[in-house]
Amino acid sequence: MTPGLLGERDPGLQPERTRLAWRRTTLASTVVAVLAGKAGVAGGASGDVLAAGVVCCAGWAGMLVVAHRRIRGLAGGGEPERLSLGYAAGVVVCVLLTVGGGVGVVLW
């Protein structure tokens, strides 16, 4: 596979499928953030719950940022960039932040 010229597309649509996979992932994380928000509101807006909710939201926002940058990396012509370890680790850290905030929301 030679690095394609601008406008030459992979017939398997690999970059597009990968972009949509990122979109699905951000959508899933949005659903989780909404559920966390619902849990936080139901738990009463005490300071602890609020702090945990902020951590959850930070995880969600971080995931949106990583996904956006990754999608931009895929969008260029020619051979798309590969996923870097930094992005992969970053997105997992965001998930862990969501879990950390979630534990707070559930316990308090």
Partner: protein
Amino acid sequence: MIDFARNVRLWFSPAEVRDDGETPDYRFSLANERTFLAWLRTALALIGGGFAVDQFLPGLRWGWRVGLALALLASGALCALRAVNHWVRCERAMRRGEDLPVSRFPALLGVVVAGVAVVMVVVVLLGWEG
């Protein structure tokens, strides 16, 4: 365990992965990336399930409800960590031209999810509400 420690070290030294072996066809790397994302969505679904248990089963005894919710949240975190670990291992195996790593994690996760589902059915049917 030593393997795991080596993998963790690799997470923080991306250059080491890049220098290893030959760069595979980018389509293989993208396929590996999509698998990683699919595992992340699995992790997010588990986390969402944890919030759902906490929120939508208010009649359940506190211990059961919080215990189940925390177990689901923890399994989501585990799943996410394992996703990035497996992604690194696959990427490295492809660069070296080795067989892709095998894993018993999917089977384990399947058993755990089935177990949680059965527990939930029993809890709801028997009405162990507080």
